[in-house]
Each structure stands twice: as C-alpha cells, then as structure tokens.
Symmetry: C2
Subunit: 387 residues, 2 copies
C-alpha cells in the first residue's frame, strides 16, 4: 500500500533552501526566521506530531548561504539530527524564562550589529508560533535589526510543488477517493451523522491514510445549512442531502475534497444545485492552465454558479492551494491575481446557496500541468448519487 517512499532526498531540501536564498539575496534579506511546522518541515524534513503540543516553540533560521540552523527544544534534537541539518542548537524546554530567546538573540545579534535585514512570516495565512511576549522581548534586544515580511518568498516556493511532492499528494488523493467510494457502505438511513464521521475516519485509515484530521460535513432534509459544524447524533433520513469534506494526510501531505449524496431520494432543487456545481468544477478544470490567474479560475466557476446563485455565499472563495497544509495560498477569488504555473496543486471548490438557506459545496483536487489541469481525485459523479 505504501510502496511510495516517505520523506525526500536531502537534495530536495538543499534545492528549496538555495531557491529561498536566491530570493533573499534579491530582497536584501540576510536571513529568514521560521516558526511554524510546515515552514520548518519544508526546509528540513523535520516531521513530528509533537507540534500539536502548544507548549514548546521551535525555530529555524535560513542564513544567506549554507544550511538552515535549527534552534529547538532538546527533546527534538535526536530527530533533527536525522535530517540534513547539522547546526542544531537546543535548550531544555519548557523554560518560560528563556524558551529559546537567548539562543535566538545569540544568533541574531551579529545581524543586528551589522544593521542587517531579516525576514519573518507576517503575511496572509501566516502566524508567529511563539509567545508574543517572547517575540517582543527578542526584538527589543536586537536594536539595529530590520525585520521585514518574508511571506512572498516562502509562499512563491511552497506554491509550486516538486514531482516528489506531487507523488505524495496524488497518493493521498487516491486514498481519499477510495475512502469516499466506500461511503455508501456505511452511510445509510437511520445512522447518526456522528457515526458516519467515525466510520469515514476509520475507512480512511484502512485505505492507508496516516490520519484523517479534518472532517466536516452536514446532512439535512433537502440540503444542509452549514459546512463547518461537528456532526450531530441525528440519524440520516430519507430525503437528506449528505456532504462529507475531508482532509486526510500521508507523510505530511493533504488531500482536501468533498462529496455529496442524497439519502433515499434526491429533491429537484438539490439535483439542480449539484449539476450546477459539477459543471462549475468542469469550467474550473478547463480554465486551470499555466498563465491563467486565480481570478480567471474564480470567474470561470462563478459564471456557472450564477445560473443559480449570484450572491457568492459565505465561503469567501472557490478553492485554494493544497500541500503540507489543508489550505494554502493562493485563493480563487476576485482579488487574487496569482498566475497559475506548472506544478501548482489546487482545490476547485465551488459553492452556492439555494432554497431556504441551504448551501451546497463541491470540491476536487488538481495539479496544473503544461497541458492544463490533471485531476488528482477521482472525479465526482456527474449527477447527485443516491444511497
């Protein structure tokens, strides 16, 4: 099942680092400080669920040349030594009085002394994963250091996937597709939605996912009303429209797509909504060529959606990037002019409102190739399937 190799060759991390350093040189940055799991993993291969504990901060510094430097809790030293990183500086964490701030100050004071500029992730869809008080103390002790936003650099690298990354994404999308194919076997009239969720997660694991951390959905007569709630104990009933939207992962890479079903029978309004979204997705697939922009993708889908709903709905966008995170840059919206390039991995996620406050969402995952979009997910049925 998992013949695909985990991790990447060291060469891949070196390539990523050198690409960042080339962009840093252009931008006049002497280094970039990273604090989040996907950013640290992207440049090192350091992969652990330990980040789920909010207790300890972890840092990676990318200098202008050479390998990144890890500044991490001692508990992670053994695992970090197994990556390509060689300069690993540790402290015994947790240590509220100095949770890495002293080590960061040692590292960065040289840059501060020279009045240099370093980058930090400050932009859209980012956050600083360390206590704000520690950050304020850190920069207060680094007079002369200029700190600028490095989001554009990291974003531009991470948005375009390597072939090895696309293999992993293709693998987890296939696992997701096999899992969705089994849903009619365990989602039936009388089964509480909560139990459907549990069965879906178990099936995803059985199909080879490392985990199914994200699972949302809805089910209600003639259509569901929100797409972010936890499942209720309400049993599925004839006439329900059921939607499951899942982010499963394998080796740290995510799929993110959904499927809709009618339970017993489908009402006309829901069949019509499904048809519109299916065709909107087709329009998105056709539009996802190198050179097009996210705005183009948005309009291609929105034009079809407008047959039923010209309001736009609550979701705020019609898809996004996909990779080490469930959602990544870019966003298929009217304001995102990111140009699609080969090897971007994206979701297409048209949604609409219909009837009396009902909504429907549909989602596929694609990779942009020279000749256009290639589906990573097994395409949803063209008509609303009935269980």
């Amino acid at each position: 099942m998992n013949a695909l190799r985990r991790g990447f060759d060291n060469e891949e991390y070196a390539t990523r680092t050198e690409a960042a350093q080339a962009k840093m040189a252009e931008a006049g940055m002497a280094g970039i400080l990273l604090t989040t799991e996907p950013d640290v993993r992207y440049f090192t291969g350091f992969h652990t669920l330990f980040w789920q504990s909010p207790t300890r901060p972890w840092f990676l510094f990318i200098p202008a040349a050479g390998k990144p430097i890890a500044i991490i809790p001692e508990i992670g030293a053994d695992l970090m030594r197994r990556t390509w990183i060689t300069d690993i500086r540790t402290w015994s964490a947790p240590a509220p009085q100095d949770d890495g701030v002293g080590l960061l100050t040692d590292l960065l004071s040289t840059y501060a002394g020279r009045g240099e500029t370093i980058g930090l992730m400050k932009g859209h869809e980012t956050h600083l994963r360390m206590p704000l008080g520690d950050y304020e103390r850190l920069i207060a002790g680094l007079k002369g250091l200029a700190i600028v936003d490095a989001t554009d650099i990291v974003r531009s690298l991470r948005m375009v996937k390597s072939e090895a990354e696309i293999e992993k994404l293709s693998h987890i999308c296939a696992i997701g597709s096999r899992t969705f194919a089994r849903v009619p076997e365990f989602a039936h009239q009388g089964k509480p939605l909560e139990d459907v969720f549990r069965a879906f997660r178990r099936e995803g694991l059985a199909q080879g996912a490392d985990d199914v951390p994200y699972l949302v959905g809805g089910a209600d007569k003639g259509g569901y009303h929100d797409v972010i709630s936890p499942p209720s104990r309400r049993p599925l009933a004839r006439g329900d429209i059921l939607m499951l939207d899942s982010g499963a992962n394998w080796d740290g890479y995510f799929c993110d797509f959904d499927r809709n079903w009618a339970i017993g029978n489908a009402d006309d309004a829901s069949r019509r909504a499904y048809d519109v979204l299916w065709r909107a997705t087709e329009a998105g697939i056709a539009a996802a060529c190198p050179g097009a922009t996210c705005r183009d993708l948005f309009h291609a889908m929105q034009k079809v959606i407008a047959e039923l709903d010209d309001q736009g709905g609550d979701v705020g966008r019609l898809g996004h990037g996909l990779g080490m995170q469930l959602t990544e840059w870019p966003s298929h919206t009217n304001w995102d002019s990111t140009e699609l390039t080969e090897n971007m991995v994206l979701t297409l996620e048209p949604s609409l409102g219909y009837g009396d406050g009902r909504i429907m969402v549909h989602e596929e995952n694609i990779v942009v190739r020279a000749g256009g979009a290639e589906l990573l997910t097994e395409r949803a049925a063209p008509e609303l399937p009935t269980i």
Copy 2:
C-alpha cells in the same frame, strides 16, 4: 456509548465569562482579545474543525461586562449564532486587505480613545493566531491603547475544570484506556510499527473517540530511543520495547497518556526502568493533593526516578495540565510553583534515560480532589506487560 451530552449549558459560559471579568477588573483591563481555538471555545462553545485551516483569523473580545463579542468570518456566523453569543460581527474572509482588522479597529478605537488597557495572550504556551503584519497594523491604528498580557487570567480559569469538563475528560480517558487494553490484539511480532499506529487510531475511533489526532511512540530492541518520531515500517521484533503515547479527544477534550509493552520477552534493564517509572507515578499520585505545588509533584517523582537516572532527560518536565489542549499549564518542573487546587486535571509523566541512549516514558491522567488524586485513566500494570 455517547450518552454524555455534548457542549455545556449557557450558564457555564456565563460563569466563565464573569470569572474572567472579575479578574479583569482587579487587573485594570477593560477587555481581553482572544485569537485561538481553545480560548474562543472556552468562552463561547464555538466548536469547529475549521480552525485547522490557517487561512482565516477568528476573534473574540471579552468586555468588562456583558457577553463576549465575536468578530469572525461570515462562514462561521451560523454556527456562532447557535452559541450563547449574540453580538456577532462578520466579514467575508479571506480578505488579505482587511481580514477583520477594520472590525477590530472599530471595536477597539473607543478603548484607545479613552486610553484604556486591554489584555492579549502573550505568555508561556500561547501564540497570537493572526498574521503578525495585521497585528502590527491594528495596534499602529490604536494610539492610546495599552496592551498587556492576559495569560495569567485565562490560565487561572482554564487550569481548574468544572464538573462538566471533568465528566468529558473522564469519558475520553476511559475511551483511551479501553483502546490501550486492545493493543495486545493488534501489536505483535512482525507487524510494522506504522500499521500498529493505524490500528490504534482505528480502535480509538471504534471505542468512541471523535478523533485520535496525537499518536507518537517508539519500538526498538531493548528500549526505544526517541518519543516524538513518526512510526517506521520496521516490523515489531522479539525483545522490542513498544511505547504508544496518545492524545484522543471527545467533544473537544483530550486524554494524554501512554503505555509500554515488551514484545515476546522483556530485558532486565527495561523491566527495571518500568518499575522505577511505575513507582515514580505512584509517588506523583500520592503527592497530588490540594496545597502541594507542581514543584512538589516534580520532586516526588524525580526522587524515585533518581534511583536509575539523575540527569533529568530531554523531556523537560514530568507532566502538565490537560483539557481542551493536549498540553496545558501548569508544568511539573522545578520552576513551576503553581499550587494544586481541587479540580485541576493533570498528567503525571515521569521519564528516564537508561542503558545506551534508551529512554522510557510513562503517563497517567488524574484529577485533583479534596482528598487527593483520582485516576482518570485505568492504571498501568505494575510490571512491564509482555505481548
């Protein structure tokens, strides 16, 4: 299986809010701004996995009196309206040009104009979940507003659980205990550790967990060497010591404990290490009375651990708080003088190094009651069990 009711009565959220407001009054804070999932959920009951997407920020403001105010993406409005919150201000997110900053500025400018003070989570084990650039722009537009650290207030509330919270924690710990009891049925010689992990997650779901997001562990001949790695494809072999450490959750509350087994036969050094850790845990259980400090707990366990290992190891502490997060304040360390009070829920997590770079960890979950510690987990066997 899940006869226990999900969520809490509105009264519980009102009580939490009023407790925060009393402490805010003492500290001279006119409000507290919260940005993370557990903090927002603690005061509202707003519960969704949608936080897993890093794309959208979510905000909750607790004023000096009255209900909290939600400033959230429109996609969450329907779910938030089902909580006790009534003042819900939304925007269509994502919107990089103004992802809530305008709404926050509208809300906070009154406070700024009066030169008031508001609190933000800046302390240990916290982070600010919004783009740093947005935060910098926000405060630059709020001249006159003093921003101080609110960690002590939120920490002091969240550390002490209500009976309704303890019921949920007890429920998930029981699910965890039943799951660990099944491990000998699916962890055996020849089975790759990765498949043991997958089977454990599936069993946890079958036993009633909503999810098993955290699972780490190790297995190696005569003892494992690290406790944070993802599982390898190496098959379990006779003489291995296997450890699984899991954080499963139910209705947003976590268990966090581990178990050790010998595969086929146990070497003497590992049996001895296990015995020391089991007795260290006993000492921790005996010491966990109201009035004792985390430092006392640490020393009670460390005194036993020192029979084998006086170095302290890499973990950095011997347990921590438990609740809506896998790890919460306080920490059982030499530097944490937090006084234990009734209804704190804690992990006891002694660890030691032995032999040639091997480590062993052991963990139980307890609630502190007037008469001392009550176990929430089914106590581990006093001798290293063999599969």
